[in-house]
């Protein structure tokens, strides 16, 4: 393992994620002090399924990458947004936003089925997983300290209070992303990509391999389409779509950041559901299409 390469990868992930974490934390602080929970809740559909579908598309208004979404998730939960809908936002928003859709279209101009599949499958998985969680109690999903801080109403916007909240959140998230970046860098330097590629002897294995790559490299959804493009001659469309769907939902750094907000059980269930649903949906989509 080369220390210089490992350190470069570690620092690159940290520095790249930093502005988006600050942006997500700023949005979360804004929600805390300026947005009333009644405003959010009255604009959501009445049904659980409707709420999940609507919240999964919130990335259109807040096109923040997956790092920035975790502080926003926390802010939404503290405004009494149903956890199921908030989880749909977490899983859907990193992909269902104009920036990611456009970059995917630009990366695969002759393969519209890839960006259509990315959007469609991400939306479906975000809504399904969110809806499944609508049957769980909030205390089974959210960490107690998040529930304890939920008051549902806006506080008088005091500058020091807002700065206090912003920097407390930012420091916590950045420390978590530091650990996540270190683990991702270690994984990249220890697990050779050619080795993973050799494992992909059939379509199903190719899907699993690309999902593993997505989990390990932990890159932003705004540019992952170009990264996936480099593997387009090795893997079929189903594996590429699996990479593009799974990476923004679940990777090393997101899991560590979620540990600050959701219970371990909820994180495990989200991970398992996202993994299984991605494999099933991408495998089925292209076999049905053929």
């Amino acid at each position: 393992m080369n220390l210089q390469d490992g350190a470069t990868i570690f620092l690159s992930i940290f520095v790249e994620a930093l502005p988006f974490i600050l942006l997500g934390t700023a949005v979360a602080t804004y929600i805390k002090y300026k947005v009333r929970s009644e405003t959010i809740l009255k604009n959501l559909p009445k049904s659980s399924l409707g709420k999940c579908a609507a919240m999964s598309c919130l990335g259109i208004i807040f096109p923040v990458c997956e790092c920035g979404n975790v502080p926003v998730l926390k802010g939404l939960l503290q405004k009494n947004v149903p956890p199921s809908a908030a989880i749909s936002f977490l899983l859907g928003a990193p992909v269902l936003n104009p920036i990611v859709i456009i970059t995917t279209m630009v990366a695969f101009p002759n393969n519209p089925e890839i960006w259509i599949a990315r959007v469609g499958i991400t939306f479906a998985i975000a809504v399904i997983i969110g809806y499944i969680f609508s049957f769980a109690k909030p205390e089974e999903i959210i960490k107690p300290q998040i529930i304890a801080k939920s008051c549902g109403h806006t506080h008088k916007p005091n500058k020091i209070r807002a700065l206090d909240h912003f920097f407390a959140e930012a420091i916590t998230m950045l420390s978590i992303i530091t650990v996540g970046a270190a683990i991702a860098a270690l994984s990249q330097t220890l697990i050779p990509r050619p080795f993973l590629i050799e494992l992909a002897s059939n379509q199903l294995l190719a899907i699993i391999v690309m999902m593993t790559v997505a989990f390990i490299i932990s890159i932003c959804s705004t540019t992952d389409a170009f990264f996936a493009l480099a593997y387009s001659h090795i893997f079929g469309s189903s594996a590429l779509v699996a990479f593009l769907v799974y990476g923004p939902m679940i990777d090393m750094k997101i899991l560590l950041m979620l540990n600050n907000v959701l219970t371990k059980r909820a994180i495990i269930h989200i991970t398992l559901l996202a993994t299984v649903l991605t494999v099933i949906s991408t495998y089925t989509w292209y076999n049905l299409a053929l």
Binding site: N2, L3, Q4, D5, A7, T8, I9, F10, L11, S12, I13, F14, V15, E16, L18, P19, F20, L22, A107, Q145, I160, R161, L163, D164, H165, F166, F167, A168, E169, A170, I171, T172, L174, S175, T178, V179, A184, A185, Q188, T189, L190, I191, P192, R193, P194, I197, I217, S218, I219, C220, T222, T223, D224, F226, F227, L229, A230, S232, H233
Partner: protein, 221 residues
């Protein structure tokens, strides 16, 4: 008391980010288009640090009660790591990343065929050499490109792979790309070279190869 430590930590982080920006070391980590975001982050941290010091007598409830000292320590570790290591990817990571074949390389930048051949960039030549038709049209054209040397057991004899890392977002997604250069010279891996030559039969044949110091902008996109 904790507010002082938080102020010092984020102040140091902001100054560190500013230093990376001013020294152009960000180019070794992320795409230049994201530099302005990092600069804004640095400003946020520095201004925040000043505000915390200025208003330290006021009640910073969340930082005092919810920020763990280890979080501050972990953030400062990032600064320590950067100050104790050299930045930039090396050919040692080729084994982990694999090599991307020339025909599979996809670049972001716009290729302009009308510029002088000697002024074309590494990315421009990849664009040309990928295409048999373009390579034929450029037969005899002068080449002047910069990259680092890489050879391994699979490299053809009398060839050096002039290489760069292609990044989309940050060094974490880097792909290793190289252009084979016909030459009898031997250079160690990771040595940065300026190759001047010409296109012959679809390949670059070197006329002069000069060793150069590592440039600030090492990656292509």
């Amino acid at each position: 008391m904790k507010i002082k430590y938080a102020a010092i930590s984020i102040g140091l982080l902001g100054i560190w980010l500013l230093k990376l920006y001013i020294n152009q070391d960000l180019a070794l980590l992320i795409l230049p288009r994201y530099n302005i975001l990092v600069l804004l982050g640095a400003v946020v941290f520095i201004v925040g640090s000043i505000a915390m010091f200025k208003y330290r007598s006021q009640h910073w409830h969340e930082i005092d009660h919810h920020v763990k000292p280890i979080s501050l320590g972990i953030i400062l570790m990032v600064v320590v790591v950067e100050m104790t290591t050299t930045l930039g990817l090396t050919s040692n990571s080729v084994g982990q990343r694999g090599q991307t074949d020339l025909e599979d390389v996809v670049l972001n930048h716009t290729f302009n065929i009308n510029i002088k051949s000697e002024d074309r960039s590494f990315g421009d030549w990849i664009h040309i050499l990928k295409s048999k038709d373009l390579s034929k049209k450029e037969e005899g054209s002068k080449v002047n490109i910069v990259g680092f040397a890489y050879t391994d057991s699979n490299t053809d004899p009398e060839t050096i792979n002039l290489s760069r890392f292609l990044i989309r977002c940050c060094a974490a997604d880097a792909q290793f790309v190289s252009i084979p250069i016909k030459t009898t010279e031997v250079h160690p891996n990771d040595q940065w070279l300026n190759v001047k030559g010409a296109i012959k039969d679809g390949k670059i044949v070197a006329e002069t190869i000069t060793q150069i110091p590592k440039p600030k902008i090492q990656y292509i996109d």
